[in-house]
């Protein structure tokens, strides 16, 4: 226990608490001097909480040591290129490390923790929805200053945002661990920035959870004003949490792009990179740029609340629809941030388990870029009913439908990849195939939402809820699990239990189909999104009960996974060689990966996916004498 309290995580959290008190105290003191009120419903006033939360994040980062080297540089001091990790075992992961592999695992485990929290929230409100009328989230109950329906709204909103953050962290985790290994780099381009990107996500998660106890916010994860301008102070914690997590995503993406451009092994031309790297770049382009806009949109609402600046307040000449434009400029491309790496994992793993080249490598690579670029031009399809300018609707319908083309290229290429392969079905492959089918359903239910007239019916219903859970599960969750099962031996030298893995898959997949089919069906019938209760006359009770049971089964399957994950670290079957018989460079060296990655640099001498071509090789390790070349 004592060792836990001396870790960077514990120190950071302690400093965040101190920072929050200092910031809040500062504002409270100033307000006292100015003769303003100094306490409010949640002890501090809103400006005090905001500055406190902001200071909390800064203090966390300063206190846990992730910015120490930068301060040294600013003072003109030199630091070693790489700090060796002082710790081993679990302590290594709770302290600041510059090793991309450690950071990748830190990201991944944090993502799993957040997925569990977000999933727990979902189960809570799913339980309430199992029957019409209010059962336990009643008007009379009160928790954290909220009654049942208000708490429902907060939990539902937090489920959305916590899952989004966990996905961003999961994406960053896989990219961090895998991309430098695939490129043959020793680390990311900017190891300190990499550590910073991870650690800023921790106080961000704390802020998001703080919003729950500070009155909640109940605006949906979208936080549309004027509703968010009227929500309790919790909404400010939510905004600051999102902005901090946004910086994590932006800086992480910057690092990935720089790494891919500057740190590739000799001979690794653009079209000889592993396909996952293409996906990582496409995702990072979006995350690097568009993320700023969600930060800005939330910041403007923050300032509207703090200083009365009427950006979105119609009474002051503001425009509520402007917020939606700024918000969706990120939040639509964001779904491509979530899914592109997952689709990259699918493309990466299919050839390995089909023992065949990836069909149409260049087309798949280009389709990732295509999705990323078209993704910038489709945001207003979330606003067909918003009352925005009429003439914007048809162009945005067309741009949205265009996304189907690069996505279609991926599907067709995947099918052609497994055609005449020699397929085997270990757990990662199951999740890859499951991901394809689920994502197919998500993809196919997209165009009806793009066609404006149909969307006028579907918008804000459970049809949308089902549609995007399909896209996110198919595009992220299934491939993410596939990636974890697949690269687990690389990180630990052990395999996860196959039986439990298959149980996880066969429990989760059918439950998930039931869940989203049910959602879409009642959505068509008139089930609105984001409601705590529904009219019993609509006859949705039995479907909702089934959905809730399906939700619990998914939760159970994830629990099995988590047990398997942590249990296998110590007790898994040893797997130190090329478990999957892959051509990728990281599998050509023994597992777990050595601290400084490759002892000998490699050179790319062939195509990455030439499975079944006799005598071909993707990479060749040079003798130690030769120097490293780009």
């Amino acid at each position: 226990m004592k060792r836990f309290f001396s870790t960077a995580l514990a120190r950071g959290l302690a400093w965040q608490l101190i920072g929050t008190l200092v910031g809040a105290g500062l504002v409270t003191g100033l307000r006292a001097l100015m003769g303003l009120s100094i306490t409010d419903k949640f002890f501090f006033t809103e400006p005090a909480w905001v500055l406190g939360a902001f200071f909390g994040v800064l203090f966390f980062l300063a206190g846990n040591g992730s910015v120490t080297d930068w301060f040294k540089w600013a003072r003109g001091m030199d630091t070693p290129e790489h700090h060796a990790d002082h710790y081993s075992g679990w302590e290594k992961y709770l302290n600041v490390s510059l090793d991309h592999k450690v950071i990748g695992i830190q990201y991944t485990v944090t993502a799993l923790a957040l997925i569990s929290i977000g999933g727990l929230f979902a189960l809570i409100f799913r339980t309430e929805l199992a029957q019409s009328q209010l059962q336990f989230l009643t008007v009379d109950m009160k928790l954290f200053g909220q009654n049942g329906p208000q708490l429902y709204n907060t939990l539902m909103s937090l489920h959305g945002m916590i899952m989004i953050v966990s996905i961003l962290l999961g994406v960053a985790g896989i990219m961090n661990y895998v991309v430098p290994l695939m490129l043959g780099a020793q680390d990311m381009a900017f190891p300190r920035l990499n550590a910073f990107s991870f650690w800023i996500a921790v106080p961000a998660a704390v802020l998001l959870l703080m919003s729950l106890v500070l009155g909640g916010f109940g605006t949906g994860w979208t936080g549309y004003p004027p509703l968010s301008a009227r929500a309790p102070v919790g909404v400010q914690m939510f905004f600051l949490g999102v902005i901090s997590a946004g910086w994590s995503s932006i800086l992480g993406a910057l690092n990935v792009i720089a790494t891919v451009i500057r740190m590739r092994a000799k001979g690794m031309t653009a079209f000889r990179m592993p396909i996952f790297v293409w996906a990582a770049v496409a995702t990072s382009i979006i995350a690097l740029t568009a993320t700023q806009l969600i930060g800005l949109s939330f910041q403007l609402v923050m300032f509207q609340r703090l200083f009365g600046m009427g950006f979105f307040d119609p009474a002051k000449g503001g425009n509520p629809v402007l917020f939606q434009h700024l918000f969706w400029f990120y939040s639509h491309p964001a779904v491509y941030v979530f899914i592109l790496p997952g689709l990259g994992v699918i493309s990466e793993l299919l050839p390995v388990f089909a023992r065949k080249p990836l069909f149409g490598y260049r087309w798949i690579a280009m389709s990732s870029m295509g999705i990323a670029l078209v993704g910038f031009l489709v945001w207003a399809h979330h606003m067909f009913t918003s009352g925005m300018n009429e003439y914007l609707r048809v162009p945005f319908m067309y741009s949205t439908l265009l996304v189907a083309i690069p996505t279609g290229v991926k599907f067709f290429s995947w099918v052609a990849t497994i055609w005449k392969g020699k397929l085997t079905y270990p757990t990662p492959m199951l999740f890859v195939l499951g991901g394809i089918v689920v994502f197919l359903l998500g993809g196919l239910t997209g165009p009806p939402n793009a066609a404006i007239s149909v969307d006028l019916h579907l918008h804000d219903t459970y049809f949308i809820v089902g549609h995007f859970h399909d896209t996110i599960f198919g595009g992220f969750v299934f491939p993410f699990f596939a990636a974890l099962y697949y690269w687990f031996p690389k990180a630990t030298g052990r395999r996860m239990n196959e039986t439990l893995g298959k149980l996880h898959f066969w429990l989760m997949t059918p439950s998930f189909f039931v869940l989203t089919f049910g959602m879409m069906q009642i959505g068509l019938l008139g089930m609105r999104r984001r409601i705590v209760d529904y009219d019993p006359a609509l006859g949705f009770d039995s479907t909702h009960l089934v959905l809730t049971i399906a939700g619990y089964l998914i939760g159970l399957s994830v629990l099995i996974f988590i047990y398997n994950f942590f249990n296998s670290i110590k007790n898994g079957e040893k797997a130190e060689g090329n478990v999957w018989n892959s051509r990728s460079p990281e599998w050509q060296v023994p597992s777990p990966m050595p601290v400084h990655n490759y002892d000998q640099p490699f050179e790319v001498v062939g195509e990455p996916y030439d499975y079944g071509l006799p005598g071909s090789k993707y990479v060749e390790f040079s003798s130690p004498a030769k120097s490293r070349h780009k």
Binding site: V139, P320, F359, Y398, L401, K420, K422, A451, M520, I531
Partner: protein
Amino acid sequence: MRHFVIVGILVIVMAILTYVGLDVAGVATQMHPIQASLQSVSIDWMWNWEIIAIAFLFALIIVPMAYSMIVFRRKKGDTSEGEHFEGNTPLEIVWTVLPLFAVLVLGYMGAYSLGEIRRVDPNAITIKVKAQQFAWTFEYPEYGIVSNELHLPVDQQVVLKMESSDVIHSFWVPEFRVKQDVVPGRVTEYRITPILVGAYKVRCAELCGASHAYMENGVIVDTKADYDAWIAEQQAIAAANQTPEGRGKLLTVKNGCVGCHSVDGTKMTGPTWFGLFGSTVELADGTSVLADEAFISESILDPKAGEVAGFSPTTMPPYTLTEAEIANIIAYIKTLK
């Protein structure tokens, strides 16, 4: 070649099965809630084509995938690799260009269907809609009627001019299909032609606060005769209601009070008014107070001051009404016993 023929046949079979299956489930030729507006016919037409495309594309991917998974799975003891081919550029071009063409067609159909549902009838009746947390109010400017139930004549286009006084709401009657946000600070338009007599409900589709789930009001599509009768009846009531109670009742509808406060004892977001006047009310701070003129008046002007136990934290916004208006409302509340 044999593989391709089998898969080709299976794709067609699967596509048909998928479509038929979805139709049996009630989500293909028509979205499920009955078509109650002219616009819903056009929307369901578009939806049907989408489903046809979905069924075909679903089969096109899923069949060769399942076929490969079964037929090309590794047999026991086989250690060879798969057949080596890296791609096929003409094929890639085909499956890029054909979807592009499909997208253009689908886009054209979408735009056409949008045009259909936005077709303007110059003789459309105008009704003003006011949305607020958590109720809808409907005003018929031609007749001087205010109602919290929307009555529409069948086969007659109406245009709703919608305004919100607080946050964003969204007007949605599932049977009408079309949905339109109501944004504070502007008037949004909703055009609809009901074609089926019946009782429906408008439900708010944009999260608007704690009682968002309950923000629903009745929508009645009447025959022309019934509609006229209703208008006449409402006008008569309005004329007869030139009493304080009558004016008070109108005010509670107009201001949306009855969205949260029931008049028959049902528990809603706010305390019921049934039997309220003269009763003893337990407040959130533990004290009790007699519900007299002063208490009700104060609760309207400053809802937080009179926070009733079990209903806190109050979500009611303060209302700025004149003394005379409040007196009318209290007169109305007095009648609710």
